[in-house]
Symmetry: C2
């Protein structure tokens, strides 16, 4: 086996794309690109799966079948069950598969992984429904995030690995001149994989956040155990099934990639993570468990945890477009994106728009109006905000009024004509003073927005920077029409490794990180120790070993 | 400023060399390459420095002048003192320098660092004497290891950084087609340095083991505090002085690289390492402190700790040449190299040489004879074994007879005509059985060799592998004329990330790791978490941050 011409072209384009970092998408984000009958087929596949065991995996002899997914739209159980295995079974199978996979060539691994992605493509619509009804994302976001965007991210990680693994020559003759004679050695340089890799998924982005680590570990020769959030299994189960199918087609042990489903009553992430044979851990989720994962001795970890993302308002070209852009950014998927802004810093003296000053109160009003206008819009509201994934998030929103802050906008149910039972909430907008750090320094996951009144932009930046250094951040949105101020903001934020999105208006939002171009999470602050996809993200999954022999 | 043509040529050649991994040396290893008057000049510089303060550094207002170096050859104090600074002074100066250095372009950093290397070249002989009389290395080894080989390693790390920092474009226009319109963003990708870097040196290889980390941190924009072993300061003080001179010549804050001398009575490594502003730590030394360094939260660490290196004897082409090679390998610098073999595994049934079997006893004799023949040779003995750096190592050798093992060769003083007072010891060779793991699983630093009788080669490999997994190893030497066995050894040892040197004879030894070709330490087992110089070695010193702005 080797890379076929078609797959080689995909990999080469991806390698080129990660170096150019201009716009590139292997998988078009528009649903229409996948053919007329694709939506219908996907919907029937989804409907047929409901209430039944998920039979697509090639993992033998489960000890039980379990499932606890509930749609945040219908509030009904999906009734899908998944095969459950003992931790020891998973580890033994992963270890045996690793022994075979580590000897498979890079080209062959790439062939299988691209095959899998090309198969996953035909299941984007089923994945979209599965994502919508586990995460609460809108259908369009579900399609894009879990389908083409996730696959692009998987391909990106794979391409980065493909390049890194071939960074140094496999064999060289080293000849050292020593006067009349020379010493000759035959050298072999091998990227040796570390072992079993564990991917711990989250409930809100079950594929997007997991596939980069899975594909990075697989291309570098590690076997992978995928441990999804028990409330969000279905989308990634399809991905794992297609990886297993691609392995099987080439006669490789399908346990190279296993799904490890657990239940809220019997969580296995910790047991798996602590296992001495697990060498690599990819994790997306809360900071407390993430910090624990990072602290386990002897593991190489890749984490994305919580953070507190800031907006710094200094000066604008046009407040209305800014407020619209920010209103959308905080509302998209009800603030359940790790990239969503939470803290909006506004100087007490207002902000500049051209020559005139817009007062603090005016800015505040423009923002709250944009937010309430969007959430109360009959079509745009439910389409943008989607549903709330978990009851805990909804409770957090509803109790946010007790945070000792002024409530500028109370949360309300978002009317959804299609799913009247949906668990929804419009954003609660609170107002606090710069001194109320105790309130806004917490990640308040979900549709909770804080407007923070500061002395001036310098203080806004100082506080935003402090948040990043102490609590981490994945994004920072800033608006300034003054070049020196913009430079100052960028310089200060990058010193704590937070990327700045400056003056975004129109149909591009701070929440969006594009594959092949934007680094997602920098890895440099407490929001996470890894980045989609820098070279480290793949290099840490294998070890260069150089053998030598006398000639 | 920018890279001059001459320096650019040096950097480009080095980048090419790390990719080709064939023989390359920027700095010739033979002393004669440096001109006829170089040795004399170096010797006078060294002689003039003895008994005086080291005035070459550009660090102002020391609180004291201290020095405690003692020559292992003359057993007399060097009498050289170095400026001492408070930890807070060092940190504040490093922090201020970092703020400037992080904004210096990659090209300009490279220019300064190559300038420094080109100046260090003219001090190779002074460095050689300084190394000989602090470490106990022979003069030739002192010259090579601390001079050209160290500078090659520094250049290698710098070149790797130079490449990685330019891996992605600084600026791109990202344009996403959206049907009739398109979204445009201006993106800036920046490798942002982490902060203050600390390099903790060791007493045996004061420059070779420290310069890769120093140059890797500097090229990536971090400021560096160099904390040498108090018994081995002089060689690295010269290196730091020349880096400071190169910085000064370009008008850059010379505190970008500071020397932090401490004393045995008042060690400051821990205080520096724990300081919150220190983000990166390079460390060479014992495992206990190394493990501590790795465990400090919030630090990126690069360690080289202790390990137990093995030799696996299976079959040979010619026992005599093998015994000579191994005898030299264990004797070179009296086993004080981190790459020196310690445990020699020999099957009880002997080993094959062509068709005939050489008995275990014969192999053992050949080895002990080669070792004793070398150490008792009037010229080769002292030239190869050098002197013992520390009294502790000598004590370890002398008490090794109490290890409950059979003494095959007792340690003895190595006669040294030039330095009759030198602290020396020929290797003690002990014989143990495979079951005596408690004895041979310890790193017995210094001239201590263990011959271990095993059931067969399979057991030899199993035990050697077990040593690597549990205690780490930097090298593994193996001899087998059987291709399948050689492959088995390589496969097993690489699974614990130990490189195998197969069938080395003649003038090449397992101890030697060549710059631009061999990875020194793999980073994959307990002997250390970093490798000279893989991409990770530089990538972990900075963070990719991508800013975006609306167009």
């Amino acid at each position: 086996m080797a890379l076929t011409t078609a797959n080689k072209e995909i990999v080469d384009k991806a390698v080129k794309a990660i170096h150019e970092r201009i716009f590139y998408a292997q998988y078009p984000e528009h649903p229409k690109a996948y053919g007329e009958d694709a939506p219908g087929k996907g919907q029937s596949a989804y409907n047929s799966q409901l209430g039944k065991p998920f039979n697509g995996l090639l993992q033998q002899n489960p000890v039980a079948w379990e499932g606890e997914e509930v749609s945040p739209y219908t509030m009904k159980s999906l009734g899908v069950t998944y095969p459950v295995f003992e931790v020891d079974t998973l580890i033994v199978r992963a270890g045996r598969a690793f022994d075979a996979w580590r000897h498979v060539s890079v080209e062959d691994r790439a062939e299988i992984l691209v095959d899998a992605l090309e198969k996953i493509k035909y299941r984007f619509f089923e994945i979209a429904y599965a994502t919508q009804h586990t995460t609460g994302q809108s259908f369009v976001m579900s399609f894009q995030a879990s389908g083409p965007h996730a696959s692009d991210r998987a391909l990106e990680a794979m391409a980065m690995g493909y390049e890194e693994l071939q960074r140094f020559p496999g064999n060289v003759t080293w000849e050292k001149p020593m006067g009349k004679v020379s010493v000759k050695l035959q050298k072999e340089f091998k990227p040796v994989p570390k072992g079993i890799s564990l991917a711990i998924g989250c409930s809100t982005f079950p594929t997007w956040n997991s596939v980069p680590g899975i594909f990075a570990s697989l291309i570098t020769g590690n076997s992978v155990i995928v441990k999804p959030h028990p409330k969000s299994v279905y989308p990634i189960a399809i991905v794992v099934a297609e990886i297993q199918n691609a392995l099987k087609a080439k006669g490789i042990d399908t346990n190279v990639c296993q799904l490890a489903v657990d239940s809220s009553k019997n969580l296995i992430a910790k047991t798996l993570a602590k296992h001495p044979l697990v060498k690599l851990i990819d994790y997306t989720g809360g900071s407390e468990f993430g910090d624990y994962i990072e602290s386990i001795p002897g593991k190489t970890t890749f984490t994305e945890k919580a953070g507190v993302n800031s907006v710094i308002l200094d000066s604008v070209a046009d407040l209305k477009t800014v407020a619209q852009n920010l209103g959308f950014a905080v509302s998209l998927y009800s603030g359940q994106m790790c990239t969503a802004p939470q803290n909006i810093f506004i100087p007490a003296g207002g902000i500049k728009q051209g020559d005139k000053t817009i007062s603090y109160e005016e800015v505040k009003s423009a923002l709250t109006e944009a937010i309430s206008g969007l959430s109360s819009h009959p079509q745009m509201g439910p389409g943008t905000l989607g549903a709330i994934q978990s009851e805990i998030t909804l409770k957090r929103v509803n109790s946010a009024k007790d945070l000792d802050a002024k409530v500028l906008l109370a949360p309300a149910k978002v009317a959804n004509a299609e799913f009247p039972e949906a668990r929804t909430s419009s954003p609660i907008v609170l107002e606090v003073d710069a001194k109320d750090k105790g309130i806004y320094e917490n990640e308040l996951f979900g549709p909770i927005v804080l407007i923070i009144k500061t002395k001036d932009t310098a203080q806004s930046v100082e506080l935003a920077k402090d948040m990043v250094a102490k609590h981490g951040a994945i994004t920072c949105s800033a608006y300034s029409t003054d070049e020196a101020t913009a430079k100052m903001i960028t310089d200060e934020m990058e010193s704590v490794f937070a990327p700045v999105s400056l003056n975004l208006t129109g149909v591009i939002w701070v929440n969006q990180h594009a594959g092949f171009s934007d680094f997602h999470v920098t890895g440099g602050n407490p929001a996470g120790n890894a980045s989609f996809t820098n070279p480290e993200y793949v290099n840490k999954r294998f070890v260069w070993v150089g053998h030598r022999r006398g000639v």
